[in-house]
Subunit: 639 residues, 2 copies
């Protein structure tokens, strides 16, 4: 491991119009909209109930404190609605508490970018509400607090206390690091202390069914310095998947088959997990925690396990867009090279989780392959999750869409041809909000002697080593200028993007290692890099059965697609010409191609030469698709 | 409508080695094996419980007759097991009674081909058992008789009394027509009388959730001449899908959305159903009944509705193999041209049902398009359902199989790469048994002046018009010889197979109409037809997205496929050469082609010319696939 630590979003000013636009959309659209959603104030949308639950939990706690008896409700479901549950019980998904937490976290990062006293006081009020729902012993989960506190921590596999805790901890550390206010942090530490009591060294051998507590405990450790938190994260990881299965023990059964816990990545000890399997978001959240613990405990074998999992994803289980999770069944990974375009799940949250994982791998060992994946996800499968007006979202990010199939074929019912305003299970929009608001955190990492630049938008930062201003034309000409005022001699490491065949630096003959070009910097200096993005025809590994005979088009990190709006319906009839003449036309790429003549009504007939007409194909960046209404889309095209 | 009636299987002697082999497999393997299955005597197989249920029903009835109180059990599930139900209750699927019925029907046809006193007495014993389970009022369904007779006919949508009745009626008519024994026929008529009382002209406005009673009542009418049966069939069809929905009425709800009853083809009146939708087997069973009623009641508009549905299937929703039902979700039709190869359901029973439908359309109106579909199904998607040793079966008949995907991708968990010994829901093997044993029934139809030959195996028959001997080399050279001894002058109509471009008859210039060639026959005569099967490259309609850039190979009615055993793994890397040199090599067809070089480990990379090696491709008839162990298979190949 060759480590580095990120330069905080707090110390990074994004000056890049592309990213400012996204960050501002989150600040002006997503965060206020989500606040309305948390308050159940969106008409014609499924209720969130999340703040209502916290309020109810606080009332229930006061009653209990006063010695009043409170009713007990069932805890056997994942989702409670006015139709299937008592009106005085918890409502919504069992993990509903995580939504206000993600909102607070997004607000914290947003305040780092743009201070806003009104928003901050709104967040303070949410924090007050959350803290009022904390029990005296530190327990903080509105589901069990309302429905039955005696059942707390009895179903780690299916319920989400450790998951909600994790999101709360991420919110608390972010809010504390932004504002210095420690109310939520203190509350979360009390909850963390309880968790360490129950599941620590001498406690129950449990771990969460939906991972995140691992990386959240690490954040809490990094913020407070309390080693107990790191140690519990380590225990969660070391125990996972060992026999006897904890999920068997808590359910009072014996010797489950390992297949039963693949979904939760709890089928094998993590060191033996050499393939990414199960629920994709859970997977990358676990692997993120593993990478954190490996780095902080200098555990090389755990790091190797992480690298094996990372490579398995990046080389065998990832869509060209950075999407992961090939099937809606369990929102899960399937098997190597199984990447169907039209049935893809590729949840926005999963790509976000993959960025978390990649950033942590990068911290553990600076290697451009990790930053390359961050970039691939960010510019493609993550940004596609949000409409250009910030008002609607994709949960699922397919690589091929035929709207009729989405309507009439239940296998594709998870694939939406247009973004949705909000979701019943609203994990993706707030996850997008917290990632995009924290974009700055992903740009730079540093260690003792070296400052690494991982992403190439225009930005400013100041660290102990230097003040750096980036003027970037990365997505267009590929030219990036770095104005450096060194405070001390240091090494600047610039990632060489995976897609750049002909890069050039103003300072010649840099030392190149693990995908970074190293430059010694001694004073004030302006350095430029030219990455020369070319329009490329990209082929998939031949084991990806769906894409045999097809190609995709990329330029720089941007994956392109064809849409019906620009190319007519029946995109599958289109073919890119051999050695096509590509042209840049604003954001579009045009190329010459052919359209196969549509058959009339014969279903099967004797082959005769296919008739084709010449057409001009128009490719649009994938992340921009479906911003002009419902239509067909495809990333791959016949070649 | 230009009608004809089939020459009974009883009067057709199949002398064709290909079909004798299949018929004998059913007689020697399938029928005895199924008898063991019905008796729960197969080790390591899910129990059938079907004879056990009938025995229990008989006991329960005797007790009730003696005035003893018998327990009541729940009737809210589709499937009852020792784990979820009382040991004294009904066990198995609610439609379990249909299995002994299908077995008796298969035995009846088999006895027509090959008398067998031992088998006949076994069938008699099964019939005795069934009849002992009949209540005094004629009711005959072991599920409600055991679990709760008061609930009889209260859930036509989900339960299967009318379905089980239908299979019993088909068994009873077949057994009576074969043996002259009327015990089962009488019992079924009593049950039919009860059904006519309950659901007749002045009864409840119901109809079955799983269709079949319609065509079964027609068989009962044709056997007994009792017009009440035809009339009830007509009522079942006329009422179906009309508002208010009967399935709403019986459940005490109002105004269901039509989408709720698409599965059962009860969403619209049948005249308005211009697209085949819902559960594919149910669909073609309903359409079969509609065709019967249209023919017998001279209802032209009902016949037109049938033709629209038939054409919708044949021209938009049928695999090249005659498979129907593109999705496992509801075992259903999806939408026009949605024919995914690897996710196909294409249930053996559905293709069998399509043959039932096609045969009935042919009876209503002699047009070769109906017999063409019979032939396509029989030689491809139906025969594929049975192993060459008659000992294992496919429920699902995919057009592309990648065994790894069947194991690790739950979307394909219904696709089995090898045939199974038996099924928990064992509808397909007995359906195969009854169709193949009755194969003779599909060969000839006749009307006053004309004898139609629809299928071209070697066979003998004798009707009022003539004695005919067919000596067929249809599948090989395409030559078929007809030795005719006319008893009276008549017209012989020979179907011109859809695949035959260069047919030739020994008697020149026949009159050709609706796909049949007509010849006047006056005495003894030998006529030959040469249909000249050629190896053809077949293309799909361009709206079938999955098959763009791919072709299939056919010769005569036989669809071919490539298997891993003959062509190596990764069949998707193979490509058929332009203008390939085809050769017949026994049952195989060979051709020259190319294999794309397999990529090592890069997932995405810049396109460079694909490397290919020359290979000799080996195609096997589709119906023969998976007889040499688990391996990849594909009907379509790149071109």
């Amino acid at each position: 491991m060759e480590k580095s630590i990120p330069v905080s979003n707090k110390n990074v000013e994004i000056t890049d119009s592309f990213w400012i636009n996204k960050i501002e959309l989150v600040r002006k659209e997503v965060i206020p909209y989500q606040w309305q959603a948390l308050n159940d104030k969106i008409e014609n949308a499924e209720s969130s109930y999340s703040l209502r639950n916290l309020r109810l939990a606080a009332e229930v706690l006061s009653k209990r404190k006063r010695g009043e008896k409170t009713p007990v409700f069932p805890t056997d479901k994942w989702h409670y609605t006015p139709e299937n549950a008592d009106k005085n019980s918890f409502l919504g998904w069992v993990f509903q508490d995580s939504d206000p937490a993600k909102w607070i976290e997004a607000v914290a990062y947003s305040l780092q970018n743009t201070p806003d006293t009104e928003l901050e006081s709104l967040a303070d009020s949410a924090i007050d509400l959350i803290c009022s729902a904390q029990a005296e012993n530190g327990y903080l989960d509105s589901f069990y607090t309302i429905n039955n506190p005696d059942k707390a921590f009895t179903n780690l596999r299916d319920h989400h206390e450790l998951y909600c805790f994790g999101h709360l901890a991420e919110a608390a550390t972010a809010y504390y690091n932004t504002t210095g206010k420690n109310k939520l942090l203190n509350a979360v530490c009390r909850f963390a202390d309880l968790i360490c009591d129950v599941f620590g060294e001498n406690g129950k051998k449990g771990y969460g069914g939906h991972e995140i507590a691992e990386m959240a405990l690490v954040k809490l450790y990094e913020t407070t310095g309390n080693e107990r938190y790191l140690n519990t994260a380590k225990l969660f990881i070391e125990r996972r998947g060992t026999r006897p299965y904890y999920f068997d023990i808590e359910r009072g059964i014996k010797n489950s088959n390992k297949i039963d816990y693949i979904y939760n990545q709890a089928h094998l000890p993590v060191w033996e997990q050499n393939q990414a399997v199960g629920h994709a978001v859970r997977g990358v959240y676990l692997y993120s925690g593993m990478a954190d613990v490996a780095r902080l405990t200098d555990n090389e074998s755990l790091f190797k396990a992480c690298e094996t999992l990372f490579d398995d994803i990046a080389n065998k289980k990832m869509y060209i867009t950075g999407g992961i999770g090939s099937t809606k069944d369990g929102e899960a990974f399937t098997f190597a090279y199984d990447l169907p375009n039209d049935l893809a799940y590729a949840e926005t949250c999963a790509s976000i989780g993959l960025v978390f994982f990649a950033r942590r791998m990068l911290q553990a060992d600076f290697n451009s392959k990790y930053a390359d994946i961050m970039e691939r996800c960010l510019y493609n499968g993550i940004l596609s999750g949000m409409a250009e007006d910030g008002k609607s979202f994709f949960y699922v990010n397919p690589l091929e869409v035929h709207p009729t199939a989405c309507k009439y074929d239940s296998r594709k019912s998870h694939v939406k041809p247009v973004r949705q305003k909000w979701f019943d299970c609203a994990c993706c929009p707030p996850n997008l909000a917290r990632l995009i608001s924290d974009y700055g955190e992903y740009c730079f990492t540093e260690n003792e002697g070296t400052l690494f630049i991982n992403l190439y938008q225009s930005a400013r930062t100041s660290t102990d080593k230097a003040e750096i201003e980036i003027h970037s034309d990365y997505l267009n000409s590929g030219r990036v200028e770095f104005k450096i005022k060194a405070k001390t001699p240091f090494t600047l490491a610039l990632r060489i993007p995976f897609w750049s065949n002909h890069f050039k630096f103003s300072k010649e003959n840099p030392y190149i290692r693990k995908g970074y070009a190293y430059f010694d910097i001694n004073g004030d200096e302006t350095l430029t890099a030219e990455f020369n993005p070319e329009i490329k025809i990209i082929k998939c590994n031949s084991n990806v059965r769906e894409n045999i005979g097809k190609v995709a088009v990329m330029r720089g990190p941007i994956v392109y697609c064809i849409e019906e709006k620009d190319n007519g319906s029946n995109l599958h009839l289109l073919r890119l010409a051999r050695n096509p003449k590509f042209n840049l036309d604003g954001e579009f790429i045009t190329a010459n191609g052919y359209r196969e003549k549509e058959d009339s009504n014969r279903l099967y007939y004797e082959y005769s030469e296919t008739e084709e007409t010449l057409v001009k194909l128009k490719f649009l960046p994938y992340y921009r698709w479906a911003n002009r209404g419902e239509n067909e889309m495809s990333v791959y095209i016949k070649y």
